[in-house]
């Protein structure tokens, strides 16, 4: 049989057809209108060309909000990581009783299903605009992600060393500190740093909804059609994101097995 025969591909016909049908249906659902989008594309390119030229004088009053954004994500991630440790302990099968584990896992998965931006909407309705809503939203968001990761890390612990510590007469707290904590420190630090990268990205969007910071400036200057200022804010955001990625990568490499810095 010829290698290039179409018969070879006959089994792909049904899945491909299904995919095409689904794509077409969802294009209908989305209201995709490529023709008119293409028509407006040319004008909007000219319209947004202002986004490419930064307003250099705007940087002087933008670095404050930028710092605010960074602090929101630092404090939010740290607070979330500390609280997640307890959730991680409560959700680990080798530490917690089964009923507690099931409850905590269920809560965590429920929380993970809620996007942070929805959480911040509610927090803004409760506490008003301001960094506190952003910090709390990031804390809650971090718990959902880090709680599960920490629990998985704790479940993979070497139980032998825990037994050894118990055997020489340690109480529960000492087992937690010397058995569990010392083993999971590197994992905890690297996951927290990973989450920090996420938080930095999220804090931009959270800021626009009401947490303040650089996201708010970005959104506001966009709504006021001040595209040059918007470009400056965008540059700051890009610098923050790239720096946080590099920084967390560097730190993650430095943290070695014992949890100490090399």
């Amino acid at each position: 049989m010829n290698t290039y025969s179409l018969r070879r591909y006959r089994k792909y016909l049904l899945p491909m057809g299904c995919m095409a049908l689904l794509t077409w249906l969802s294009a209908l659902g989305c209201g995709v209108h490529l023709a008119s989008a293409w028509r407006t594309f040319g004008t909007s390119i000219g319209y947004f060309s202002g986004l490419l030229v930064p307003d250099w004088s705007a940087f002087s009053d933008l670095w404050g909000p930028a710092l605010n954004s960074i602090f929101i994500s630092v404090v939010g991630t740290f607070g979330g990581a500390v609280i997640s440790l307890f959730f991680g302990l409560a959700a680990a099968s080798n530490i917690a009783p089964p009923w507690l584990r099931q409850c905590t896992r269920f809560l965590l998965s429920l929380e993970r299903a809620l996007p942070e931006i929805v959480i911040v909407l509610f927090l803004v309705a409760a506490f008003g605009m301001g960094p506190s809503s952003g910090v709390l939203a990031l804390v809650i968001g971090s718990i959902g992600m880090l709680g599960k990761l920490f629990a998985d890390a704790i479940e993979e612990l070497d139980m032998g060393s825990l037994d050894a510590i118990k055997a020489v007469g340690a109480n529960r707290l000492q087992v937690m500190v010397y058995g569990v904590w010392h083993q999971i420190v590197p994992t905890v630090v690297s996951y927290t740093l990973l989450r920090f990268e996420w938080s930095i990205r999220l804090s931009v969007a959270l800021g626009a909804v009401g947490a303040g910071g650089i996201g708010l400036e970005l959104n506001r200057s966009f709504q006021l059609l001040d595209y040059h200022r918007c470009c400056s804010a965008l540059i700051l955001v890009l610098v923050i994101i790239v720096l946080s990625e590099r920084g967390s990568e560097y730190l993650r490499k430095k943290v070695n097995v014992g949890g100490t810095l090399k």
Partner: protein, 271 residues
């Protein structure tokens, strides 16, 4: 630090730990003071949360059958995520093929593709959705375009790494018996990366569904938009019902994706 010992002395380790914790705690305190964030406000201002909760409390589920727009919003959210994944995934694969060392012989093209992916990856979705909303108008189309953009950037990088990490021997074998570059990609590279690709696309759908709900708040349409509107007009009971809907939708789609992925990858029909 005494490198000759081969390990860190306990006294050194203590000093190191003390330094790290002092620096971290000072930084946190400074950050809190700078932002004006007082951690005790969670307790002193908790009654605001209680007020809000009592306003939301019986969630108004009748919204789902009274209001036809909600059903439409669910369809919009799902189709946004699906189209974003499919179109974005195709674009991501194209970019990855252009950027990977195995498939692209020209260094200039590789560098350009990599640069494009880097830029797309770090641009926050807030800016992208604002631009698209201004270009094509408020609605699911703007959200979908944003998702395409984000998926292309994020997963292009991932696919590129997958391609570069693939086994080189089959490609060389096929090349040595006279296959063209396209045939090498089709018969040596593609079968290797396809399972990973499919798994990643399911993951992308999951991410896109969540991001799509967040995008709705900035005018991207779907459930997020309805939620934002309900919050804006202070219909907290509707908002709470929509929250339940969001959680249900995301959890349900996660399950469906898991099932589909297991069926697809388990059977090995993709070879």
């Amino acid at each position: 630090m005494k490198a000759s010992l081969g390990y860190t002395l306990p006294s050194d380790r203590l000093r190191q730990k003390a330094t790290v914790s002092i620096v971290v705690s000072l930084g946190l305190v400074f950050a809190c003071i700078y932002m004006g964030f007082d951690p005790s406000m969670i307790f002193t201002e908790f009654h605001f949360v209680a007020d809000l909760a009592s306003n939301m409390m019986p969630p108004d589920f009748s919204l789902f059958w009274m209001d036809k727009t909600i059903v439409m919003a669910i369809v919009e959210s799902l189709s946004m995520a699906f189209l974003g994944t499919v179109v974005g995934g195709v674009l991501a694969l194209g970019l990855a093929v252009l950027a990977a060392r195995d498939t692209m012989p020209f260094r200039g093209v590789r560098l350009v593709a990599r640069f494009v992916m880097q830029i797309v990856r770090v641009i926050p979705y807030l800016v992208v959705i604002l631009v698209f909303v201004a270009t094509v108008g408020v609605g699911a189309f703007a959200g979908m375009l944003t998702l395409v953009f984000m998926t292309a950037g994020n997963f292009g990088q991932l696919f590129m790494e997958t391609i570069e990490a693939s086994e080189k021997a089959p490609a060389e074998a096929i090349y040595s018996v006279g296959a063209s570059r396209g045939q090498v990609i089709r018969y040596a590279l593609f079968p290797q990366i396809l399972p990973g690709l499919i798994a990643n696309l399911f993951y992308a759908f999951d991410v896109n569904l969540r991001t799509g709900i967040a995008l709705g708040i900035f005018g991207g349409g779907g459930v997020g938009f309805q939620l934002y509107m309900a919050m804006r007009v202070l219909h907290y009971r509707d908002a709470f019902a929509l929250i339940c809907l969001t959680v249900l939708l995301i959890v349900l789609m996660e399950r469906v994706c898991d099932l589909l992925r297991k069926r697809l990858l388990g059977k090995g029909i993709l070879k």
